[in-house]
């Protein structure tokens, strides 16, 4: 049994819109284990993004416990949560979210700089881009990149500091199937080679086909948790 990185217990999250309270998560339980390539799926409003935000220390649960790497996030200050995000988590957003005034290389380098990396960070950033076959794009700014290229650079940025857990919110939502598949292959490669854990929220059947585990949400609760053969996708493709 692999190490539990994320332990979500009886988590509730309410949003208040005027006088209306929206129960986004209603007593949700989930464990994320080291090496998971986990897709969280479900209809709109089921709580996928909310769950991802709670795991990513971007938001705070209304009730229950969210533990990441053994730390109960509700006990962490704003600064400690930011530190956790910086040092142990990687994020890939639906819209590419690169800093528009920085080149691909500088975007990756920026995260390393935030972590306090010294003069070696440029080389490290370039090596990440090269590893992900993005070296040729290093000098381009986001507006000079296609959507697929931007998202791959965003992944490079997310994994540059070798985080233990990468959270991706609908990473393929704006990509065509060819780019989406390239992105997923890249992330799977990172998981296999660098022992990273990936959690996606998605609607995309392609992501589900690549996932080693698919958790389905409905109305803020887990309704199914399916462990798949991690090589299933390659097997299907080979056939």
């Amino acid at each position: 049994m692999n190490e539990v990185l994320v332990d979500v217990r009886d988590v509730r999250k309410d949003f208040h819109v005027g006088k209306i309270t929206v129960n986004a998560l209603r007593g949700l339980d989930l464990e994320v284990r080291k090496g998971d390539f986990l897709a969280i799926v479900g209809p709109s409003g089921s709580g996928k993004t909310t769950l991802l935000n709670l795991i990513g220390a971007l938001d705070v649960a209304t009730g229950g416990v969210v533990s990441v790497f053994g730390q109960d996030l509700s006990t962490l200050s704003r600064r400690r949560r930011a530190h956790l995000r910086l040092t142990s988590l990687g994020f890939v957003f639906q819209a590419y979210n690169l800093v528009p005034v920085l080149t691909a290389l500088e975007n990756v380098e920026f995260v390393l700089e935030l972590q306090g990396a010294g003069s070696e960070r440029r080389e490290a950033a370039m090596s990440v881009l090269d590893e992900l076959s993005l070296g040729e794009l290093s000098g381009r700014r986001p507006n000079e990149l296609s959507g697929g290229q931007q998202q791959r650079v965003a992944v490079a940025r997310a994994v540059a500091a070798k985080p233990r857990l990468v959270l991706a919110d609908e990473p393929t939502a704006n990509l065509d199937s060819e780019n989406a598949e390239a992105l997923l292959r890249m992330m799977r490669g990172l998981r296999d080679e660098h022992d990273m854990t990936f959690v996606f929220s998605t609607h995309d059947p392609l992501v589900m086909s690549y996932a080693s585990r698919v958790v389905t949400l409905r109305d803020g609760r887990v309704i199914s948790d399916e462990q798949k053969n991690s090589d299933a996708h390659e097997h299907r493709r080979a056939n």
């Binding site: 971007l58 930011a82 530190h83 957003f93 979210n97 800093v99 528009p100 500088e106």
Partner: protein, 412 residues
């Protein structure tokens, strides 16, 4: 290097919305240019005014008999002036000292008389840049009944060299004083009383006319450096030969001019305030718009673990950069204005379509031709003002950023 990347990001962010950045830069640059142009003109005007004030008429220090300044009575003289001058000139800070005699008289060319003032001077002692007879003025023919008259005075009464001028007045004893003098030439002077009323003669001729011995009404002193005026006044006040006289710095002689210079400084502060407001409005607007537009981006950066402090620093550097580039452009324009006008001068009258003319204020003649002057402190004042304004203008955006929650910002 966090600093270099912060600078790089700030610089590139200024280029994201070029129109808006250019508008803000223009506002700041125009503000700084306006401040420097006004400062240069006011400095030129003020410095000319000060030079005139501390020039031929008033000097840096004056010595008189007590109450002479209030009464201007011809008999309120200082005695033993030669001994006083010798002591004054022995002071190491004194560059020039000259005695003068002033006496209102009636002058006449024919049977018609007109009001005039006899100004008795020592031509040698007045022959310096701040004297009554600076280089180039005809003084060789002064003395032994030969006089110079003010140019305005000569023009008004059609006096030309060679004419004989009858002078009638009152001597120090109260008796009638009279004499006949030959006009050697006319002189232009920045001293209004000399220019429009003056009959300039040697001290000896004036003393003969007014029945004075070694007396004079005034000693005008110029020191080597205006910073030592007060020290020189203290020393001279304690000098034995000057014990019965009043020794005054120019500020006490012409307080109106001091007030006017103070007014110029106050005016400059008002203009500086306007620059402040223009810069603040430009930078604050730009930074506010910029931070509102980039809320999503800030949310993303916060999600990545970037601290609010780092974001605040980025915004601050951006604002300071915007301000300093703007103030740099404005300063460059101001220097171009200075280069273009400082030598030839700028004529207020010509701007209005007229000819250069001179006006008198408190006995000092001023011209409408101003030679703009700028000091490093003027440029620095604008730079510091805009720098501070830049810092102030980002307070609100920074407060907003510091309060941002990553997810709320990303949803924006």
């Amino acid at each position: 290097m966090a600093v270099s990347s912060t600078l790089r990001i700030a610089w590139r962010n200024l280029g994201r919305n070029r129109k808006r950045s250019l508008l803000a830069l223009s506002a700041i640059a125009i503000g700084q240019f306006a401040f420097l142009a006004v400062a240069a003109l006011m400095n030129g005007y003020g410095d000319d005014f000060l030079d005139s004030a501390t020039g031929p008429l008033v000097g840096h220090i004056q010595v008189h008999a007590h109450e002479w300044r209030d009464e201007r009575s011809i008999d309120l003289v200082m005695e033993n002036v030669d001994a006083m001058l010798a002591e004054i000139r022995s002071d190491p800070d004194v560059a020039h000292a000259s005695a003068r005699i002033y006496a209102p008289v009636l002058a006449a060319l024919t049977e018609d008389g007109f009001m005039s003032v006899v100004v008795g001077i020592d031509p040698e002692a007045e022959a310096h840049d701040s004297g009554l007879l600076p280089a180039g003025t005809p003084r060789g023919s002064l003395g032994e009944g030969s006089v110079l008259v003010g140019r305005g005075f000569a023009r008004k009464y059609d006096i030309v060299p060679g004419m004989e001028l009858a002078v009638v007045g009152q001597d120090v004893d109260g008796s009638i004083a009279s004499g006949l003098f030959t006009v050697a030439d006319s002189i232009g002077s920045s001293v209004e009383i000399v220019n429009s009323l003056g009959i300039v003669m040697t001290l000896d001729d004036a003393r003969d006319l007014l029945a004075m011995s070694e007396d004079a009404h005034e000693i005008v002193i110029h020191v080597r450096n205006s910073d030592v005026i007060d020290d020189a006044v203290s020393r001279l006040s304690a000098a034995p030969t000057l014990a019965g006289s009043e020794v005054l710095p120019w500020r006490e002689v012409v307080p109106q001019i001091v007030a006017m210079i103070g007014m110029i400084d106050a005016f400059l502060m008002i203009v500086l305030g306007v620059v402040f407001i223009a810069a603040a409005a430009g930078i604050a607007n730009t930074m506010l718009m910029s931070t509102f537009e980039r809320t999503h981006e800030f949310g993303m950066l916060l999600s990545l673990g970037c601290g609010p402090g780092r974001l605040a620093r980025m915004i601050t550097v951006e604002a300071v950069m915007l301000g300093l580039v703007g103030v740099g452009i404005g300063s460059a324009l101001g220097l171009v204005f200075l280069l273009a006008t400082s030598q030839t001068g700028l004529d207020y009258a010509a701007l209005g379509g007229g000819d250069t003319y001179e006006v008198a204020f408190k006995g000092i003649q001023m011209t409408t031709l101003v030679h703009p002057r700028l000091y490093a402190s003027d440029v620095a004042a604008g730079v510091v003002a805009v720098f501070l304004t830049s810092l102030l203008s980002v307070i609100w955006p920074i407060v907003r950023i510091v309060r941002l929650e990553p997810m709320e910002a990303i949803r924006t």
